[in-house]
Symmetry: C2
Subunit: 130 residues, 2 copies
């Protein structure tokens, strides 16, 4: 099954950005720090999807660099696909530009690959096994 | 119930942008033109959400202006909320910046309001009645 797993949103201030979602009546998770990525984040479940609000903890964080270049806003869309391995094989065969050539394994063992925005209409698209 | 209704993505070429989603095995709708908004679009259902790929049909289209300024990419996130009227009242009371002060009625009678990106972490957020 396909679904939108989460939207990663680069923000300057978690405290400011999460306020609006709390006001709407959504539940915002506790803040969590991911040292490896140099980010602090909260998750906001919305139906079967989640908003992932990302604040940089260092100037070297990819999120800090993104905001410096583009301002706050959507950083990536993460989509669950039914067969990640087959999807990646098909995209590579068709010459679609991936950020890295191979499927990577992240924290918690989940497998993912990023499709370059040049192929998706300007959206950094993360694919994960559904 | 809250859910992500759709992600509006501003693209230069529908034909190019939709190809990747077809390759992933998603179903892409027929192209549809919305003269009033000066856009041509396709919808890509993804679980309970949809991607809305938007191509300008005129230089005066909001989508053309968006791309000229920011490049291709996410234009807005549309979220269903359980009680739109109550949500808007609460946001206004809290001084959250809305793009227009009142709930508007769109094609097909659906009701919507846009929250300014300054309040949401850089994302133009459309709220519709769930």
């Amino acid at each position: 099954m396909f679904s939108i797993d989460h939207l990663g949103i680069a923000v300057k201030s978690l405290a400011a950005a999460k306020a609006i979602y709390e006001k709407l009546g959504l539940t915002v998770s506790e803040e969590e720090t991911v040292a490896q990525e140099q980010v602090r984040l909260v998750m906001v479940p919305v139906g079967e999807s989640r908003l992932e609000l990302l604040e940089a903890t260092s100037e070297n964080s990819a999120i800090a660099k993104f905001i410096a270049k583009r301002g706050e806003g959507l950083h990536h869309v993460c989509m669950k696909v039914p067969d990640l391995r087959a999807a990646v094989a098909r995209l590579k065969q068709d010459g679609v530009r991936l950020v890295s050539d191979e499927i990577k394994t992240g924290a918690g063992g989940h497998q993912y690959v990023f499709v370059h925005p040049a192929s998706t209409g300007g959206v950094l698209l993360e694919l994960v096994q559904g």
